[in-house]
Protein backbone atom coordinates (compact mmCIF):
# COMPACT_ATOMS: atom_id res chain seq x y z
CA UNK A 1 0.00 0.00 0.00
CA UNK A 2 1.28 3.44 -0.86
CA UNK A 3 0.56 6.38 1.40
CA UNK A 4 0.49 9.85 -0.09
CA UNK A 5 2.48 12.35 1.96
CA UNK A 6 4.32 15.53 1.26
CA UNK A 7 7.76 16.64 2.38
CA UNK A 8 9.47 19.95 2.98
CA UNK A 9 9.68 22.69 5.57
CA UNK A 10 6.52 23.84 7.37
CA UNK A 11 5.97 27.43 8.44
CA UNK A 12 4.21 26.53 11.66
CA UNK A 13 2.61 23.72 13.63
CA UNK A 14 -0.94 24.89 13.00
CA UNK A 15 -1.38 23.68 9.42
CA UNK A 16 -0.47 20.02 9.82
CA UNK A 17 -2.46 17.16 8.37
CA UNK A 18 -2.78 13.46 9.16
CA UNK A 19 0.42 11.64 8.22
CA UNK A 20 2.63 14.65 8.88
CA UNK A 21 5.74 13.82 10.89
CA UNK A 22 7.60 16.98 11.78
CA UNK A 23 11.03 17.53 13.29
CA UNK A 24 10.75 20.70 15.33
CA UNK A 25 14.08 22.29 16.17
CA UNK A 26 13.81 24.76 18.98
CA UNK A 27 16.31 26.89 20.79
CA UNK A 28 15.91 28.38 24.25
CA UNK A 29 14.05 31.42 22.96
CA UNK A 30 11.13 29.36 21.68
CA UNK A 31 8.09 29.17 23.94
CA UNK A 32 7.60 25.42 23.74
CA UNK A 33 4.65 25.31 26.14
CA UNK A 34 2.58 27.89 24.29
CA UNK A 35 3.21 26.43 20.83
CA UNK A 36 2.57 22.89 22.06
CA UNK A 37 -0.64 24.01 23.71
CA UNK A 38 -1.82 25.63 20.48
CA UNK A 39 -0.95 22.46 18.54
CA UNK A 40 -2.98 20.37 20.98
CA UNK A 41 -5.90 22.81 20.97
CA UNK A 42 -6.23 22.30 17.24
CA UNK A 43 -6.27 18.57 17.82
CA UNK A 44 -9.07 18.96 20.34
CA UNK A 45 -11.03 21.01 17.81
CA UNK A 46 -10.59 18.24 15.26
CA UNK A 47 -11.66 15.51 17.63
CA UNK A 48 -8.21 13.95 17.92
CA UNK A 49 -6.75 12.20 20.92
CA UNK A 50 -3.82 14.12 22.37
CA UNK A 51 -0.69 12.30 23.33
CA UNK A 52 2.73 13.28 24.53
CA UNK A 53 5.89 11.24 24.91
CA UNK A 54 8.13 13.10 27.30
CA UNK A 55 10.69 12.45 30.01
CA UNK A 56 9.16 11.98 33.40
CA UNK A 57 11.11 14.88 34.81
CA UNK A 58 9.44 17.36 32.47
CA UNK A 59 6.11 17.96 34.17
CA UNK A 60 3.36 18.23 31.64
CA UNK A 61 1.47 20.36 34.12
CA UNK A 62 3.70 23.17 32.93
CA UNK A 63 1.83 23.14 29.65
CA UNK A 64 -1.07 25.64 29.82
CA UNK A 65 -3.53 23.14 28.38
CA UNK A 66 -5.13 21.59 31.37
CA UNK A 67 -6.06 17.94 31.14
CA UNK A 68 -6.76 15.97 28.05
CA UNK A 69 -3.20 15.08 27.12
CA UNK A 70 -2.08 11.55 27.84
CA UNK A 71 1.61 11.53 28.73
CA UNK A 72 4.04 8.65 28.63
CA UNK A 73 7.73 8.48 29.29
CA UNK A 74 8.62 6.08 26.47
CA UNK A 75 11.48 4.66 28.43
CA UNK A 76 9.25 3.60 31.28
CA UNK A 77 6.11 2.89 29.31
CA UNK A 78 7.43 0.96 26.32
CA UNK A 79 11.03 0.10 26.96
CA UNK A 80 10.96 -1.42 30.43
CA UNK A 81 13.14 1.43 31.65
CA UNK A 82 15.95 0.04 29.55
CA UNK A 83 18.79 1.65 27.72
CA UNK A 84 19.18 1.28 24.00
CA UNK A 85 21.95 -1.20 24.58
CA UNK A 86 19.53 -3.52 26.33
CA UNK A 87 16.61 -3.18 23.94
CA UNK A 88 16.90 -4.23 20.33
CA UNK A 89 13.73 -3.15 18.69
CA UNK A 90 13.08 0.32 19.96
CA UNK A 91 11.85 1.50 16.63
CA UNK A 92 9.24 -1.22 16.48
CA UNK A 93 8.21 -0.59 20.05
CA UNK A 94 7.78 3.14 19.62
CA UNK A 95 6.00 2.73 16.30
CA UNK A 96 3.99 -0.06 17.89
CA UNK A 97 3.04 2.25 20.76
CA UNK A 98 1.76 4.80 18.27
CA UNK A 99 -0.26 2.12 16.49
CA UNK A 100 -1.75 0.85 19.74
CA UNK A 101 -2.63 4.33 20.90
CA UNK A 102 -4.27 5.12 17.56
CA UNK A 103 -6.37 1.98 17.79
CA UNK A 104 -7.28 2.85 21.37
CA UNK A 105 -8.19 6.41 20.34
CA UNK A 106 -10.47 5.00 17.64
CA UNK A 107 -12.14 2.72 20.15
CA UNK A 108 -12.62 5.70 22.45
CA UNK A 109 -14.39 7.63 19.69
CA UNK A 110 -11.59 9.98 18.64
CA UNK A 111 -11.09 10.83 14.96
CA UNK A 112 -7.34 10.46 15.08
CA UNK A 113 -4.22 10.94 17.10
CA UNK A 114 -1.98 13.95 17.66
CA UNK A 115 1.38 13.43 19.34
CA UNK A 116 4.27 15.53 20.54
CA UNK A 117 7.45 13.62 21.27
CA UNK A 118 9.75 15.62 23.52
CA UNK A 119 12.99 14.04 22.42
CA UNK A 120 14.66 14.91 25.69
CA UNK A 121 13.35 11.55 26.86
CA UNK A 122 16.39 10.09 25.11
CA UNK A 123 18.70 11.52 27.77
CA UNK A 124 20.75 8.92 29.58
CA UNK A 125 19.73 6.20 27.17
CA UNK A 126 23.17 6.07 25.49
CA UNK A 127 21.36 6.11 22.15
CA UNK A 128 23.64 6.70 19.20
CA UNK A 129 22.69 8.87 16.27
CA UNK A 130 22.04 5.75 14.19
CA UNK A 131 19.72 4.43 16.88
CA UNK A 132 17.83 7.70 17.09
CA UNK A 133 17.18 7.76 13.36
CA UNK A 134 16.20 4.10 13.44
CA UNK A 135 13.69 4.88 16.14
CA UNK A 136 12.39 7.82 14.13
CA UNK A 137 11.98 5.59 11.11
CA UNK A 138 9.76 3.26 13.11
CA UNK A 139 7.74 6.23 14.22
CA UNK A 140 7.60 7.58 10.67
CA UNK A 141 6.25 4.33 9.27
CA UNK A 142 3.58 4.22 11.98
CA UNK A 143 2.73 7.90 11.47
CA UNK A 144 2.24 7.29 7.76
CA UNK A 145 0.17 4.15 8.30
CA UNK A 146 -2.03 5.61 11.04
CA UNK A 147 -2.31 9.09 9.49
CA UNK A 148 -1.43 10.55 12.85
CA UNK A 149 -0.02 14.04 13.33
CA UNK A 150 3.35 13.73 15.03
CA UNK A 151 5.78 16.45 16.06
CA UNK A 152 9.20 15.49 17.43
CA UNK A 153 10.63 18.34 19.44
CA UNK A 154 14.42 18.51 19.40
CA UNK A 155 15.84 21.08 21.79
CA UNK A 156 19.03 22.32 20.19
CA UNK A 157 20.83 22.48 23.53
CA UNK A 158 20.11 18.79 24.14
CA UNK A 159 21.60 17.35 20.95
CA UNK A 160 24.77 17.59 18.90
CA UNK A 161 24.72 19.16 15.46
CA UNK A 162 25.20 15.71 13.92
CA UNK A 163 22.22 14.34 15.85
CA UNK A 164 20.05 17.27 14.80
CA UNK A 165 21.15 16.83 11.18
CA UNK A 166 20.37 13.12 11.37
CA UNK A 167 16.96 13.80 12.86
CA UNK A 168 16.18 16.31 10.10
CA UNK A 169 16.66 13.79 7.33
CA UNK A 170 14.38 11.13 8.77
CA UNK A 171 11.34 13.39 8.99
CA UNK A 172 9.41 14.30 5.86
CA UNK A 173 8.79 17.72 7.34
CA UNK A 174 10.85 20.12 9.43
CA UNK A 175 9.87 23.20 11.38
CA UNK A 176 12.58 25.86 11.72
CA UNK A 177 16.04 25.44 10.35
CA UNK A 178 18.30 22.65 11.52
CA UNK A 179 21.97 23.45 11.98
CA UNK A 180 24.20 21.24 9.86
CA UNK A 181 21.37 20.20 7.52
CA UNK A 182 22.44 17.07 5.63
CA UNK A 183 20.53 17.88 2.47
CA UNK A 184 18.27 14.88 1.95
CA UNK A 185 15.24 13.27 3.49
CA UNK A 186 14.09 9.69 3.62
CA UNK A 187 10.54 9.06 4.73
CA UNK A 188 7.96 6.30 4.71
CA UNK A 189 5.42 6.04 1.93
CA UNK A 190 3.77 2.81 3.00
CA UNK A 191 4.77 -0.67 3.94
CA UNK A 192 8.41 -1.21 2.91
CA UNK A 193 8.19 1.89 0.76
CA UNK A 194 10.33 4.94 1.28
CA UNK A 195 10.82 8.25 -0.47
CA UNK A 196 14.24 9.75 -1.03
CA UNK A 197 14.37 13.46 -1.69
CA UNK A 198 16.96 16.21 -1.85
CA UNK A 199 20.69 15.80 -2.35
CA UNK A 200 22.89 12.96 -1.15
CA UNK A 201 26.53 14.05 -1.00
CA UNK A 202 29.49 14.05 1.35
CA UNK A 203 27.36 15.44 4.17
CA UNK A 204 25.23 12.27 4.07
CA UNK A 205 28.15 9.86 4.00
CA UNK A 206 27.43 8.40 7.44
CA UNK A 207 23.76 8.98 7.92
CA UNK A 208 22.43 7.80 4.57
CA UNK A 209 23.83 4.25 4.82
CA UNK A 210 22.64 4.10 8.43
CA UNK A 211 19.12 5.12 7.45
CA UNK A 212 18.95 2.78 4.51
CA UNK A 213 20.30 -0.11 6.54
CA UNK A 214 17.74 0.45 9.29
CA UNK A 215 14.92 0.58 6.74
CA UNK A 216 16.12 -2.52 4.88
CA UNK A 217 17.19 -4.80 7.70
CA UNK A 218 14.92 -7.78 8.11
CA UNK A 219 12.55 -6.75 5.31
CA UNK A 220 11.56 -8.99 2.38
CA UNK A 221 12.22 -6.14 -0.01
CA UNK A 222 12.34 -2.38 -0.02
CA UNK A 223 11.03 0.08 -2.58
CA UNK A 224 12.76 3.46 -2.74
CA UNK A 225 11.00 6.18 -4.66
CA UNK A 226 13.77 8.40 -6.03
CA UNK A 227 11.54 10.86 -7.89
CA UNK A 228 12.47 13.66 -5.49
CA UNK A 229 16.17 12.82 -5.44
CA UNK A 230 17.89 15.80 -7.04
CA UNK A 231 21.46 14.58 -6.70
CA UNK A 232 23.41 11.56 -5.50
CA UNK A 233 27.19 11.22 -5.57
CA UNK A 234 29.39 8.20 -6.14
CA UNK A 235 29.72 7.41 -2.42
CA UNK A 236 25.96 7.53 -1.91
CA UNK A 237 25.43 5.33 -4.93
CA UNK A 238 27.92 2.79 -3.63
CA UNK A 239 26.21 2.92 -0.22
CA UNK A 240 22.99 1.64 -1.81
CA UNK A 241 24.87 -1.37 -3.17
CA UNK A 242 26.55 -2.02 0.17
CA UNK A 243 23.27 -1.93 2.07
CA UNK A 244 21.66 -4.32 -0.39
CA UNK A 245 24.48 -6.81 0.04
CA UNK A 246 24.83 -6.48 3.78
CA UNK A 247 21.15 -6.71 4.63
CA UNK A 248 20.36 -9.21 1.88
CA UNK A 249 17.22 -7.20 1.17
CA UNK A 250 16.39 -6.67 -2.52
CA UNK A 251 16.09 -2.94 -3.22
CA UNK A 252 13.89 -1.54 -5.95
CA UNK A 253 14.80 2.02 -6.86
CA UNK A 254 11.80 3.59 -8.55
CA UNK A 255 12.10 6.69 -10.73
CA UNK A 256 15.87 6.24 -10.81
CA UNK A 257 17.06 9.08 -13.03
CA UNK A 258 19.58 8.62 -15.82
CA UNK A 259 22.54 10.05 -13.87
CA UNK A 260 22.01 7.51 -11.09
CA UNK A 261 21.68 4.68 -13.58
CA UNK A 262 24.81 5.68 -15.44
CA UNK A 263 26.75 6.12 -12.20
CA UNK A 264 25.61 2.66 -11.10
CA UNK A 265 27.09 1.25 -14.30
CA UNK A 266 30.31 3.30 -14.18
CA UNK A 267 31.01 2.07 -10.68
CA UNK A 268 30.51 -1.55 -11.69
CA UNK A 269 27.67 -2.08 -9.24
CA UNK A 270 25.40 -4.22 -11.45
CA UNK A 271 27.47 -7.32 -10.81
CA UNK A 272 28.31 -6.42 -7.21
CA UNK A 273 24.73 -5.82 -6.09
CA UNK A 274 22.47 -7.70 -8.49
CA UNK A 275 19.54 -7.58 -6.06
CA UNK A 276 19.25 -3.84 -6.64
CA UNK A 277 16.82 -3.00 -9.39
CA UNK A 278 16.92 0.46 -10.94
CA UNK A 279 13.54 1.23 -12.44
CA UNK A 280 12.75 4.19 -14.68
Amino acid sequence: MTVTRVDGAVSGLDTLEGGDHVAWFLDRTVDFATLAARFFEQGTARGEKLLMFAPQRRAVSRLPIGGGVTVFDPRQAFLSGGTRAAVWNWNERLGGALREQTALAGAEGYRGLRLIVDMDWLFDTTATIEQVVELEQGLDEATAAEKAVVVCAYRLESFTTAEIAGAACVHPRTYSEAPGEVGFRMWAAGSNRWHLSGEIDLRARTIFPALLTAAARGRDQLRLNCAGLEFIDAAGTRAIAHVARETGTPLHLEHAADPLRSLWRLLGLEAYAPTVELLP
Binding site: G183, A234, A239, A241, H242, P259, L269, A271
Partner: protein
Protein backbone atom coordinates in the same frame (compact mmCIF):
# COMPACT_ATOMS: atom_id res chain seq x y z
CA UNK B 1 66.57 9.39 -31.22
CA UNK B 2 68.70 7.32 -28.88
CA UNK B 3 68.24 3.70 -29.84
CA UNK B 4 70.40 0.60 -29.51
CA UNK B 5 69.86 -2.63 -31.44
CA UNK B 6 68.32 -5.21 -29.15
CA UNK B 7 70.84 -7.83 -28.08
CA UNK B 8 70.21 -11.26 -29.61
CA UNK B 9 69.27 -12.71 -26.25
CA UNK B 10 66.52 -10.14 -25.73
CA UNK B 11 64.15 -11.79 -28.12
CA UNK B 12 62.29 -10.22 -31.02
CA UNK B 13 59.12 -8.25 -31.34
CA UNK B 14 57.01 -11.26 -32.04
CA UNK B 15 58.04 -13.70 -29.35
CA UNK B 16 55.90 -14.17 -26.30
CA UNK B 17 56.76 -11.75 -23.54
CA UNK B 18 58.26 -12.93 -20.26
CA UNK B 19 57.42 -9.58 -18.64
CA UNK B 20 55.36 -6.56 -19.67
CA UNK B 21 56.81 -5.49 -23.00
CA UNK B 22 55.83 -2.01 -24.09
CA UNK B 23 57.12 -1.10 -27.53
CA UNK B 24 56.56 1.80 -29.91
CA UNK B 25 56.11 0.88 -33.55
CA UNK B 26 57.25 3.65 -35.91
CA UNK B 27 55.54 3.36 -39.29
CA UNK B 28 54.94 5.60 -42.28
CA UNK B 29 51.46 5.42 -43.77
CA UNK B 30 48.67 2.88 -43.73
CA UNK B 31 50.43 0.17 -45.66
CA UNK B 32 53.29 -0.08 -43.18
CA UNK B 33 50.80 0.14 -40.32
CA UNK B 34 48.87 -2.85 -41.58
CA UNK B 35 51.85 -5.01 -42.43
CA UNK B 36 53.69 -4.43 -39.13
CA UNK B 37 50.69 -4.74 -36.83
CA UNK B 38 49.28 -7.72 -38.75
CA UNK B 39 52.59 -9.54 -38.31
CA UNK B 40 52.55 -8.82 -34.56
CA UNK B 41 48.94 -9.95 -34.32
CA UNK B 42 49.43 -13.16 -36.33
CA UNK B 43 52.38 -14.13 -34.17
CA UNK B 44 50.14 -13.80 -31.18
CA UNK B 45 47.30 -15.77 -32.74
CA UNK B 46 49.67 -18.54 -33.78
CA UNK B 47 50.69 -18.91 -30.13
CA UNK B 48 47.01 -18.99 -29.09
CA UNK B 49 47.29 -15.55 -27.50
CA UNK B 50 44.24 -13.36 -27.18
CA UNK B 51 44.70 -10.14 -29.15
CA UNK B 52 43.06 -6.77 -28.58
CA UNK B 53 43.51 -3.88 -31.00
CA UNK B 54 42.62 -0.34 -29.90
CA UNK B 55 43.07 2.03 -32.83
CA UNK B 56 40.98 4.66 -34.59
CA UNK B 57 39.22 4.40 -37.92
CA UNK B 58 40.04 3.97 -40.74
CA UNK B 59 43.04 2.01 -39.46
CA UNK B 60 40.86 -0.54 -37.67
CA UNK B 61 39.03 -1.31 -40.94
CA UNK B 62 42.26 -1.42 -42.92
CA UNK B 63 43.75 -3.81 -40.39
CA UNK B 64 40.68 -6.06 -40.42
CA UNK B 65 40.96 -6.19 -44.17
CA UNK B 66 44.67 -6.92 -43.96
CA UNK B 67 44.10 -9.70 -41.45
CA UNK B 68 41.53 -11.34 -43.70
CA UNK B 69 40.41 -14.65 -42.23
CA UNK B 70 42.43 -13.94 -39.06
CA UNK B 71 40.36 -10.84 -38.24
CA UNK B 72 37.50 -12.62 -36.44
CA UNK B 73 39.98 -13.93 -33.88
CA UNK B 74 40.94 -10.40 -32.86
CA UNK B 75 39.02 -8.07 -30.55
CA UNK B 76 38.81 -4.42 -31.53
CA UNK B 77 38.18 -1.35 -29.39
CA UNK B 78 37.51 2.05 -30.94
CA UNK B 79 40.34 4.18 -29.60
CA UNK B 80 38.44 7.33 -30.54
CA UNK B 81 35.88 6.28 -27.93
CA UNK B 82 37.90 4.51 -25.23
CA UNK B 83 40.82 6.90 -25.62
CA UNK B 84 38.82 10.06 -25.97
CA UNK B 85 39.97 10.76 -22.44
CA UNK B 86 43.49 9.22 -22.37
CA UNK B 87 42.97 8.37 -18.70
CA UNK B 88 40.40 5.74 -19.71
CA UNK B 89 42.87 3.68 -21.77
CA UNK B 90 44.80 2.05 -18.91
CA UNK B 91 41.61 0.75 -17.25
CA UNK B 92 40.63 -0.80 -20.59
CA UNK B 93 43.96 -2.62 -20.80
CA UNK B 94 43.68 -3.59 -17.15
CA UNK B 95 40.30 -5.13 -17.78
CA UNK B 96 41.74 -6.99 -20.76
CA UNK B 97 44.73 -8.23 -18.74
CA UNK B 98 42.53 -9.35 -15.84
CA UNK B 99 40.10 -11.14 -18.10
CA UNK B 100 42.83 -13.14 -19.84
CA UNK B 101 44.88 -13.75 -16.73
CA UNK B 102 41.77 -15.16 -15.07
CA UNK B 103 41.21 -17.40 -18.10
CA UNK B 104 44.86 -18.51 -18.01
CA UNK B 105 45.39 -17.28 -21.54
CA UNK B 106 48.39 -15.35 -22.86
CA UNK B 107 47.51 -12.06 -24.51
CA UNK B 108 48.88 -9.09 -26.39
CA UNK B 109 47.61 -5.75 -27.63
CA UNK B 110 48.00 -3.00 -30.18
CA UNK B 111 47.17 0.49 -28.90
CA UNK B 112 47.53 3.75 -30.83
CA UNK B 113 46.63 6.59 -28.46
CA UNK B 114 48.13 9.45 -30.50
CA UNK B 115 46.91 10.61 -33.88
CA UNK B 116 47.16 13.86 -35.78
CA UNK B 117 43.75 15.23 -34.78
CA UNK B 118 44.76 15.20 -31.11
CA UNK B 119 45.27 18.69 -29.67
CA UNK B 120 48.56 19.63 -28.03
CA UNK B 121 47.26 19.18 -24.52
CA UNK B 122 45.69 15.84 -25.43
CA UNK B 123 49.02 14.67 -26.85
CA UNK B 124 50.76 15.70 -23.64
CA UNK B 125 48.26 13.67 -21.63
CA UNK B 126 48.65 10.73 -24.03
CA UNK B 127 52.40 10.85 -23.52
CA UNK B 128 51.87 10.76 -19.77
CA UNK B 129 49.49 7.87 -20.37
CA UNK B 130 52.20 6.02 -22.33
CA UNK B 131 54.60 6.51 -19.43
CA UNK B 132 51.95 5.40 -16.91
CA UNK B 133 51.41 2.17 -18.82
CA UNK B 134 54.87 1.16 -17.60
CA UNK B 135 53.94 2.08 -14.04
CA UNK B 136 50.66 0.21 -14.29
CA UNK B 137 51.94 -3.00 -15.85
CA UNK B 138 55.67 -3.37 -15.12
CA UNK B 139 54.95 -5.38 -12.00
CA UNK B 140 52.06 -7.29 -13.57
CA UNK B 141 51.60 -10.22 -15.90
CA UNK B 142 53.76 -10.82 -18.96
CA UNK B 143 52.27 -9.43 -22.13
CA UNK B 144 53.19 -7.32 -25.14
CA UNK B 145 51.70 -3.97 -26.03
CA UNK B 146 52.66 -2.46 -29.36
CA UNK B 147 51.95 1.26 -29.78
CA UNK B 148 52.01 2.44 -33.41
CA UNK B 149 53.20 6.00 -34.21
CA UNK B 150 52.77 7.36 -37.73
CA UNK B 151 56.05 9.11 -38.54
CA UNK B 152 54.58 10.44 -41.79
CA UNK B 153 51.99 12.61 -40.03
CA UNK B 154 53.00 13.14 -36.41
CA UNK B 155 55.45 15.93 -35.46
CA UNK B 156 59.07 14.82 -34.88
CA UNK B 157 58.95 15.76 -31.20
CA UNK B 158 56.05 13.37 -30.69
CA UNK B 159 58.07 10.58 -32.31
CA UNK B 160 61.06 11.52 -30.17
CA UNK B 161 58.87 11.31 -27.05
CA UNK B 162 57.77 7.80 -28.02
CA UNK B 163 61.33 6.68 -27.32
CA UNK B 164 61.11 8.31 -23.88
CA UNK B 165 57.96 6.46 -22.89
CA UNK B 166 58.71 3.03 -24.40
CA UNK B 167 61.61 0.81 -23.36
CA UNK B 168 61.92 -0.38 -26.96
CA UNK B 169 61.14 1.00 -30.40
CA UNK B 170 60.41 -1.03 -33.52
CA UNK B 171 61.13 0.49 -36.88
CA UNK B 172 61.36 -1.14 -40.29
CA UNK B 173 61.27 -4.60 -38.82
CA UNK B 174 64.02 -4.09 -36.26
CA UNK B 175 63.58 -3.68 -32.52
CA UNK B 176 65.84 -1.24 -30.71
CA UNK B 177 66.23 -0.64 -27.02
CA UNK B 178 65.61 3.00 -26.19
CA UNK B 179 68.48 4.52 -24.28
CA UNK B 180 66.26 7.55 -23.62
CA UNK B 181 63.93 5.47 -21.49
CA UNK B 182 63.08 6.15 -18.70
CA UNK B 183 63.17 9.90 -19.24
CA UNK B 184 63.70 12.50 -16.57
CA UNK B 185 60.75 14.61 -17.83
CA UNK B 186 58.40 11.71 -17.21
CA UNK B 187 59.16 10.98 -13.60
CA UNK B 188 55.95 10.99 -11.57
CA UNK B 189 56.86 14.19 -9.71
CA UNK B 190 57.67 15.97 -12.96
CA UNK B 191 54.46 14.84 -14.63
CA UNK B 192 52.41 15.99 -11.65
CA UNK B 193 54.26 19.31 -11.68
CA UNK B 194 53.89 19.99 -15.41
CA UNK B 195 52.46 23.46 -16.05
CA UNK B 196 48.79 23.66 -16.94
CA UNK B 197 47.72 25.49 -20.07
CA UNK B 198 46.44 29.02 -19.50
CA UNK B 199 42.90 29.12 -18.21
CA UNK B 200 40.19 31.28 -19.72
CA UNK B 201 38.59 33.91 -17.47
CA UNK B 202 36.16 32.05 -15.22
CA UNK B 203 32.41 32.42 -15.54
CA UNK B 204 32.24 31.61 -11.89
CA UNK B 205 34.71 31.10 -9.07
CA UNK B 206 33.73 29.76 -5.66
CA UNK B 207 35.57 28.89 -2.49
CA UNK B 208 33.92 25.98 -0.79
CA UNK B 209 33.89 23.72 2.22
CA UNK B 210 31.51 20.92 3.14
CA UNK B 211 28.64 23.31 3.79
CA UNK B 212 28.89 24.77 0.28
CA UNK B 213 28.44 21.64 -1.83
CA UNK B 214 24.81 22.38 -2.58
CA UNK B 215 25.61 26.02 -3.39
CA UNK B 216 28.42 24.88 -5.68
CA UNK B 217 26.11 22.58 -7.62
CA UNK B 218 23.56 25.39 -7.87
CA UNK B 219 26.29 27.62 -9.34
CA UNK B 220 26.99 25.02 -12.02
CA UNK B 221 23.29 24.96 -12.88
CA UNK B 222 23.28 28.76 -13.14
CA UNK B 223 26.31 28.71 -15.45
CA UNK B 224 24.90 25.92 -17.65
CA UNK B 225 23.77 28.18 -20.53
CA UNK B 226 27.14 29.94 -20.68
CA UNK B 227 28.92 26.59 -20.43
CA UNK B 228 26.65 25.37 -23.26
CA UNK B 229 25.69 22.23 -21.37
CA UNK B 230 22.54 20.41 -22.41
CA UNK B 231 20.45 18.65 -19.77
CA UNK B 232 22.31 15.34 -19.86
CA UNK B 233 25.75 16.88 -19.94
CA UNK B 234 24.72 19.27 -17.19
CA UNK B 235 23.87 16.49 -14.75
CA UNK B 236 27.19 14.80 -15.56
CA UNK B 237 29.07 18.06 -15.13
CA UNK B 238 27.36 18.77 -11.82
CA UNK B 239 28.48 15.34 -10.63
CA UNK B 240 32.04 16.01 -11.83
CA UNK B 241 32.27 19.32 -9.98
CA UNK B 242 30.72 17.82 -6.86
CA UNK B 243 33.06 14.82 -6.82
CA UNK B 244 36.12 17.02 -7.29
CA UNK B 245 34.98 19.33 -4.51
CA UNK B 246 34.27 16.34 -2.24
CA UNK B 247 37.83 15.14 -2.86
CA UNK B 248 39.17 18.55 -1.84
CA UNK B 249 37.10 18.41 1.33
CA UNK B 250 38.17 14.85 2.16
CA UNK B 251 41.82 14.93 1.08
CA UNK B 252 42.74 18.53 0.31
CA UNK B 253 42.44 20.25 3.65
CA UNK B 254 38.68 20.46 3.95
CA UNK B 255 38.19 23.24 1.45
CA UNK B 256 39.05 24.37 -2.04
CA UNK B 257 38.34 26.71 -4.92
CA UNK B 258 36.28 25.82 -7.97
CA UNK B 259 36.34 27.73 -11.25
CA UNK B 260 34.17 27.18 -14.30
CA UNK B 261 34.74 28.42 -17.81
CA UNK B 262 34.08 27.74 -21.45
CA UNK B 263 37.01 26.95 -23.76
CA UNK B 264 36.74 25.83 -27.39
CA UNK B 265 34.32 22.92 -27.53
CA UNK B 266 34.64 22.33 -23.79
CA UNK B 267 32.89 23.18 -20.57
CA UNK B 268 35.77 23.26 -18.10
CA UNK B 269 35.90 23.06 -14.35
CA UNK B 270 39.00 23.38 -12.25
CA UNK B 271 39.20 22.57 -8.57
CA UNK B 272 42.19 23.56 -6.51
CA UNK B 273 43.05 22.62 -2.93
CA UNK B 274 46.00 22.25 -0.57
CA UNK B 275 46.24 18.46 -0.84
CA UNK B 276 48.98 16.38 -2.40
CA UNK B 277 48.46 13.52 -4.85
CA UNK B 278 51.36 11.10 -5.12
CA UNK B 279 49.76 8.17 -6.94
CA UNK B 280 50.25 8.87 -10.65
CA UNK B 281 47.55 6.32 -11.48
CA UNK B 282 44.90 8.01 -9.37
CA UNK B 283 41.52 7.87 -11.12
CA UNK B 284 42.70 5.08 -13.39
CA UNK B 285 41.99 2.17 -11.04
CA UNK B 286 38.49 0.83 -11.44
CA UNK B 287 37.09 1.25 -7.94
CA UNK B 288 36.48 -1.88 -5.95
CA UNK B 289 32.72 -1.92 -5.26
CA UNK B 290 33.46 -3.24 -1.77
CA UNK B 291 35.28 -0.05 -0.83
CA UNK B 292 33.21 2.44 1.10
CA UNK B 293 35.35 5.50 0.91
CA UNK B 294 37.74 6.75 -1.72
CA UNK B 295 38.71 5.70 -5.20
CA UNK B 296 35.45 6.50 -6.91
CA UNK B 297 35.55 10.29 -7.32
CA UNK B 298 38.35 10.76 -9.84
CA UNK B 299 37.41 7.52 -11.54
CA UNK B 300 33.91 8.89 -12.13
CA UNK B 301 35.34 12.21 -13.34
CA UNK B 302 37.58 10.37 -15.82
CA UNK B 303 34.67 8.34 -17.09
CA UNK B 304 32.45 11.35 -17.65
CA UNK B 305 34.98 13.85 -19.01
CA UNK B 306 36.88 14.03 -22.26
CA UNK B 307 40.14 15.22 -20.76
CA UNK B 308 41.28 15.46 -17.15
CA UNK B 309 44.52 17.13 -16.09
CA UNK B 310 45.84 16.41 -12.60
CA UNK B 311 48.68 18.47 -11.21
CA UNK B 312 49.94 18.25 -7.66
CA UNK B 313 53.01 19.50 -5.83
CA UNK B 314 53.88 20.05 -2.20
CA UNK B 315 54.39 23.73 -2.85
CA UNK B 316 51.30 24.50 -4.93
CA UNK B 317 48.78 21.90 -3.79
CA UNK B 318 46.51 19.99 -6.15
CA UNK B 319 44.68 21.22 -9.20
CA UNK B 320 42.34 19.04 -11.20
CA UNK B 321 41.01 20.43 -14.46
CA UNK B 322 38.23 18.53 -16.20
CA UNK B 323 37.09 19.20 -19.78
CA UNK B 324 33.73 18.08 -21.08
CA UNK B 325 33.18 18.33 -24.82
CA UNK B 326 29.71 19.71 -25.46
CA UNK B 327 30.21 20.18 -29.19
CA UNK B 328 28.82 16.85 -30.35
CA UNK B 329 25.62 17.22 -28.38
CA UNK B 330 25.04 20.77 -29.57
CA UNK B 331 25.73 19.78 -33.16
CA UNK B 332 23.27 16.91 -32.96
CA UNK B 333 20.60 19.22 -31.60
CA UNK B 334 20.87 21.68 -34.49
Amino acid sequence: MNLLPRHPGDGSLTTRADAFRHEALLYAGDEQFVSATAQFIREGLSGDEAVLVAVIEPRASLLREGLGSDAPGVEFLDMAEVGRNPARIIPAWQEWAERNTAAGRAFRGVGEPIWTARTGIEILECQQHEQLLNTAFDAGPAWSLLCPYDVSTLPPEVIERAAHTHPAVVTQGTTYLSTAYPHEDLRTEKMLAAPLPDAAPPLCELWFDIDDLSRLRAAVHRCAPALRLDARRLSDFVLVVSELAANSICYGGGKGRASLWREGPYAVCEVHDDGLITDPLVGRHKPNPRERIGGAGLWTVNQLCDLVLIRSTKELGTTVRAYMDTHAELASES
